[in-house]
Symmetry: C2
Subunit: 178 residues, 2 copies
């Protein structure tokens, strides 16, 4: 069975996923510990697929957030020898197109892919290979940054499965890609 | 009193307000006649301010939608002599910066401005001169078009005043600009 492909992202109100320098400092944690459904979502995922830039960002986090999970990093240039051994053990580096990634994931027996990174998401969307997008929107116009959506040659119809406002001032829209 | 400045727009899910050729054919009317609060909003408005490109788009509509209302068209180049007399009577052409438009509107005794057009909205937002944005989101990624938001050198904090889903599949987010 072809794995389900999900996007779960925090975005600014003008749909940037990070500042130009990839920083996420504008994403404040909810003092009430609200996780916006992330943990439930993350538990359902058995494969994480991200682009190289997102990977490099995650490497700067205090702890590796995907312990015990299969992580694929898509890159045209990066090889294992570029990585410290402790990092290299945590990920698979693949130079693949979106459809090839899905075949590969299916062969691994994966059922639910968590897709991360602007360029990676845009590539899968353009190929019609994203099944759902859960966007948690921060009420802030960043004005510039790394955009969630990029130019596409075709339209993609969506369906709003769920729409939630939070006391923290954020809201979340859950799209199914038709 | 400085007039309140509102944006009321239909946008695609990737925040385009029109196709690259300015067409709006992707905006389907709701078969149930749902107006998404437009009429109530429009009644509260006593001045419409739009950019030249939006004006040219509106000229192509079957009927002039702002009959009986003051309409300001912002343009650096257009003059009344460029317009047919029947059109010229309907609008004021001004070559003004956002803050000047507000002073002018205040002098006219206007209290509530309906701001339209991507570049116009971006200009007012960048100057901190928009008070609210009501965005009705169509569940469709257009992939390209005229963007609602443009690059800005500063951030703009928003507050979600209201969030509504509609049976038609659209949703609406009402932001107050802080």
């Amino acid at each position: 069975m072809i794995p389900k492909v999900s996007v779960y992202l925090a975005v600014s109100a003008d749909y940037y996923i990070a500042r130009e320098d990839h920083s996420l400092d504008w994403l404040e944690h909810d003092p009430k510990g609200q996780d916006y459904g992330y943990n439930r979502f993350a538990k359902s995922v058995d494969l994480i697929v991200m682009g190289r830039k997102t990977f490099e960002k995650v490497l700067g986090f205090e702890t590796w957030p995907y312990e015990g999970r299969t992580v694929i990093v898509l890159s045209r240039s990066l090889t294992k020898s570029d990585l410290a051994p402790v990092i290299a053990r945590r990920v698979e580096l693949l130079n693949m197109e979106p459809a090839e990634v899905l075949c590969y994931a299916e062969a691994l027996g994966c059922t639910h892919i968590y897709l991360d990174g602007g360029i990676t998401i845009q590539g899968f969307l353009a190929q019609g290979l994203v099944n759902e997008m859960i966007l948690t929107v921060f009420p802030l116009l960043l004005g510039k940054g790394i955009p969630l959506f990029g130019p596409m040659d075709k339209e993609v119809a969506l369906e709003v499965l769920d729409l939630k406002g939070y006391d923290s001032g954020l809201y979340q829209v859950h799209y199914r890609v038709k």
